[in-house]
């Protein structure tokens, strides 16, 4: 591919990732964060299934290894059957009253930017736990800047062979707040 085409494709991929959102509603954050671990959300957006087909689909995804428990599956099943059901129009967007972290502002950011799909405070989901990240950078004066750059650029190799995707679209203020919080997770 010609270099300019490659650049164009890379920019488009970045833009698509930044804009990828499901209709906001109870359960939308959890659904986004679990499904996005392995595939793009457009697989959901362009599929308009019946509740029964969504149940089969979720069972299939659980078998394929999605890290979600029964309670989480029930939330996702209800969400998808409400907002991506071919038999009925989706209700208007509303706040996701089921999003984890309540009103904590940093938790809201971690949800909004899909960090929690792959990272949890104290256990490995896909990527390292926030505590592991904090431990790695403990005592490093330049940690905040370097971690922020890493979140922006994505990468592979520090924590295994599963790549972290780049996150070009996160606003600076959000990124600083999240990085500060993560590094404080000791």
């Amino acid at each position: 591919m010609r270099p300019e085409l490659w650049l164009c494709a890379a920019l488009l991929a970045g833009a698509a990732q930044a804009e990828e959102k499901l209709i906001s509603g109870p359960g939308s954050t959890l659904t986004e964060n679990k499904c996005r671990i392995c595939h793009e959300l457009k697989h959901i957006q362009r599929a308009q299934l019946s509740p029964g087909e969504w149940a089969d689909n979720l069972k299939n995804m659980k078998e394929r290894g999605t890290p979600m428990d029964e309670a989480e599956m029930a939330v996702i099943q209800r969400y998808l059957s409400t907002y991506y059901n071919r038999a009925q129009a989706a209700p208007p967007p509303s706040p996701d009253t089921l999003a984890g972290g309540g009103d904590d502002p940093v938790q809201k950011l971690l949800n909004a930017h899909a960090c929690v799909g792959c990272h949890a405070p104290d256990k490995r989901v896909v990527g390292p736990s926030f505590r592991e990240v904090a431990a790695k950078y403990a005592g490093d004066a330049g940690a905040a800047a370097r971690l922020a750059a890493k979140v922006r650029a994505g990468g592979v190799g520090n924590w295994g062979q599963v790549p972290m995707p780049p996150n070009p679209g996160i606003p600076d203020a959000d990124l600083q707040a999240m990085v500060g919080w993560v590094l404080g997770n000791k």
Binding site: A9, A47, G65, P67, V125
Partner: protein, 404 residues
């Protein structure tokens, strides 16, 4: 542009392969030259795409899926750059030097091979064979199914494959009584530690078919990374998922493998069901593709002059048996006329057809193609809806403009 660690070696290799000619005899040596120079890892999508035709349409980034439309398939042998891509996870980079294939299960003696040992110890063969994703054409179904929205004509290709026959490996190991299925397992890492391994099994009859290969070559070159380097199954004519990429383990079983890629995916109702309903409990595993054809020339909405002869071209194939004939209609299926069907270059290769149409008056002409197999099956106007959107084989339709 980022240059992939293997690509320089690969370009050097391709020149060597072109000069070397016969793949089968020299494959062992050539493969060594193509080995990635650095540690195994994962290949970035940009690097996969850099090795593909600019006309590839990418349907999804994660997992990576893409194909070219029908009018970009106007080749007897599908060039590797135009072969469809359908991953379950990421594209692994595997070092051929450390790679081994294990053969175990219901066999007299378990075996293990490096790729080079396979090439040395067994007869190497080359076939021209179809692979097509089970969901190829899925976007034609209404209501929509979940999964990759392949175009009606995307998601297939007919390249040349080189390797050894699976049956030779099975015979070397010796089958125990009750051996009924052979499961292939690939080494593509999932995004999570809990990800189910990609394992599919095929019945012994298909495993023993002389065209079912453990392959290391595609179009006289090593498999591209995204197509399974260094080793894959090639189960031609069957749903693509049977042709496990990045193959590292073959297990002989007494029954179909039990796992999500057999029991929840790649299934189709035994009999047609009401569109929009759930998968019935008596569904069966998808196996051979039904008869199918597509028009590869002209491209949709191509321009022709009144009085011009339009040489319509296309391909026809079927997973089992053979294509009997192809017909073309220019009156929306009221009448059908026979196309010229070329001989195939193998039991599992697609066959080219041509049909000449003289454009008379200005207007819009629509060509429909319909293939028949040797068992009396024809492509339907619309195939039966099924919950996962498999086996789309409707008449292919291409319209052109006739204007002065």
């Amino acid at each position: 542009m980022r240059d992939h660690q293997g690509s320089l070696t690969r370009r050097g290799f391709l020149r060597a392969a072109a000069g070397a000619g016969a793949l089968a005899t020299t494959a062992g040596e050539l493969l060594a030259q193509a080995a990635p120079a650095t540690a195994p890892g994962t290949m970035a999508n940009e690097d996969v795409k850099a090795g593909k035709a600019p006309t590839m349409e990418w349907h999804s980034e994660r997992p990576l899926t893409g194909s070219v439309p029908a009018h970009e398939h106007d080749f007897e042998v599908t060039p590797s750059q135009r072969m469809f891509v359908r991953n379950n996870h990421t594209t692994p980079l595997i070092d051929i030097n450390g790679h081994r294939l294990a053969l175990k299960g219901l066999v007299d003696k378990e075996l293990s091979f490096s790729v080079f040992e396979l090439a040395k110890e067994f007869k190497t063969v080359s076939i021209h064979g179809m692979l097509e994703c089970a969901g190829s054409g899925r976007s034609g179904y209404q209501p929509r199914a979940s999964g990759t929205p392949w175009l009606p004509t995307g998601g297939m290709g007919c390249p040349k494959w080189g390797g050894v026959r699976l049956r030779d490996l099975l015979q070397a190991a010796g089958l125990k009584p009750g051996a009924a299925h052979v499961a292939g397992q690939g080494g593509d890492p999932g995004a999570v530690a809990t990800a189910a391994p990609v394992i599919r099994s095929v019945p012994m009859k298909k495993a023993m078919d002389e065209d079912t290969l453990v392959a290391w070559a595609m179009n006289d070159a090593p498999l591209p990374f995204v197509h399974g380097y260094p080793l894959r199954l090639v189960v031609p004519g069957w749903v693509g998922s049977a042709s496990t990429k990045w193959l590292h383990t073959l297990t002989v079983l007494d029954a179909p493998f039990k796992g999500t890629f057999m029991d929840s995916s790649y299934r189709i109702p035994r009999f047609p069901v009401e569109p929009g309903t759930k998968m019935p409990p008596d569904a069966v595993s998808t196996e051979a593709w039904p008869v199918k054809s597509m028009i590869t020339f002209p491209a949709p909405n191509a321009r022709f002059k009144p009085g011009e002869a339009i040489a319509v071209r296309g391909k026809a194939w079927v997973g089992e048996g053979s294509v009997d004939r192809v017909e073309v209609s220019v009156d929306e299926g009221k009448t059908w006329r026979p196309a010229q069907l070329a001989k195939g270059s193998g039991r599992h290769a697609w066959r080219s057809f041509t049909y000449e149409h003289k454009a008379e008056a200005p207007g819009y002409v629509t060509f429909l193609a319909r293939a028949w197999d040797d068992r009396g099956n024809a492509q339907p106007a619309l195939p039966a809806w099924n919950p996962l959107g498999y086996f789309w084989n409707a008449w292919h339709r291409v319209g052109v403009v006739v204007a002065a």
